[in-house]
Symmetry: C2
Subunit: 252 residues, 2 copies
């Protein structure tokens, strides 16, 4: 665990910081937030906040510093490639107030890879070996150029396949907490019909988060009620009680 | 234009605030950010920032107040339904320091709709007529319950079809600026190969934003270079110059 990460506790929280003009312009549709959210839920990290910022150094620095102070981990995506608009590594270094330079460990990965593939070792490609001082590298089994972890900030590529490989590579190094458990109840009714019953039940179980998600099926309004808790016993109790109440009013 | 919106200028900026535990848990994959981004780009509003926060009043208030101070408009999605976890309208009212109550205009829409569809008018359903004082309603042609605009904050539903209908309904009321124009150049080469040429070209046109987006096609690395500006003449110049340089080095 990084030295300056928050102290261990039962609840491990995270934020995602997506860096990239292309997401904000609409040109690229983000696929990383949902993937990271699923991954965090699966391993017992609670994703609490997401921000998307443009390729502007000051914006990245402010967001990184706000998020790393509030959460156990910050996962950043995007901006670690070879071109001039890839400014994430330098911005993270500035956010932490540390230096950045070509990293011998990264060069030892990249140079043999470029030599073997016959690609020229350009200044642009060498940019991908710039790693903030004190960071640990994160393996990239897709295209070699590594991500890195500095303090509690995990910096990954924006290309989804590479981001996923990096997140899987770094996961064994992450502290995880109790897994958030959930149960869903599907109803063939609009959510307005059950809102009062559901709200009253939430008051009985303030420790079990209850959400209602409306959608349409075959043109008719349907609702999924989701109950979430890290405590299986409380979750089971809350579910059984809710099912009984819904049956009472004829909705189950 | 709302009274407390920033003064008119050529550059109109916006932020999106997505409100919902279900996005952060991974249960629901957001489809609104990309749609709003495309819409903003099309109408001449520059989306500059996105945040996703949980269904927690204090988090919503802090985010709304941070974003509305920085941008011409804030678009919120989610949390305006009939159930207890729908706390957006109350949170927006608190963020602005105004009251909130059942709104006669909203009741005049909702009550006839429920009566005609044979649905009971429950306390939950009436929650959807709670509108902050001073807000203008936004039409919902999908399911009637309205969104609203208070100051420079546009509050919409989370269900994508309803959000889209609301955003289209409110668009004629929004001030828009110069449209961001863009041009893309596709290359059958990895971005590392053109990084230096591209970076040098960006320095010549600091007013034209240039981004490089790598991906794979048929297992081979390809790159799309995107140039963006509100000035067609400068964009054309920058594109022509870049195409000439790429041709010189054999990449076009």
């Amino acid at each position: 665990m990084p030295a300056d990460a928050p102290p261990a506790s039962e609840t491990i929280t995270a934020a995602v910081l997506v860096i990239g003009d292309e997401i904000l312009s609409g040109r690229t549709k983000d696929k990383n937030i949902g993937w990271i959210a699923d991954h965090c839920t699966a391993i017992g990290i609670q994703l609490r906040e997401v921000r998307i910022v443009p390729d502007i150094e000051d914006e990245i620095i402010v967001a990184v510093n706000a998020l790393r102070a509030r959460h156990t981990y910050v996962f950043t995506t995007g901006g670690i490639g070879p071109t001039h608009d890839d400014i994430t590594a330098d911005s993270i270094a500035k956010a932490f107030g540390v230096g950045i330079d070509l990293d011998q460990r990264a060069l030892d990965l990249l140079i043999p890879y470029y030599e073997a593939s016959g690609r020229e070792i350009t200044p642009g490609r060498l940019r991908m070996a710039r790693i903030p001082f004190g960071a640990e590298l994160i393996e990239n089994k897709v295209s070699v150029a590594p991500g890195f972890m500095l303090g509690n900030v995990v910096t990954m590529a924006g290309v989804p396949s590479i981001m996923q490989a990096m997140l899987e590579a770094v996961t064994p190094r992450l502290e995880t907490g109790k897994r958030m458990l959930s149960v869903a109840i599907d109803l063939n009714h609009p959510e307005g019909s059950i809102a009062d019953t559901f709200g009253a039940h939430q008051k009985l179980y303030p420790d079990v988060a209850m959400g209602s998600y409306p959608s349409q099926r075959d043109g008719k309004p349907v609702t999924q009620l989701v109950l979430r808790s890290t405590d299986q016993v409380r979750l089971d109790e809350a579910e059984a009680g809710l099912r009984a109440k819904l049956a009472d009013v004829g909705y189950l």
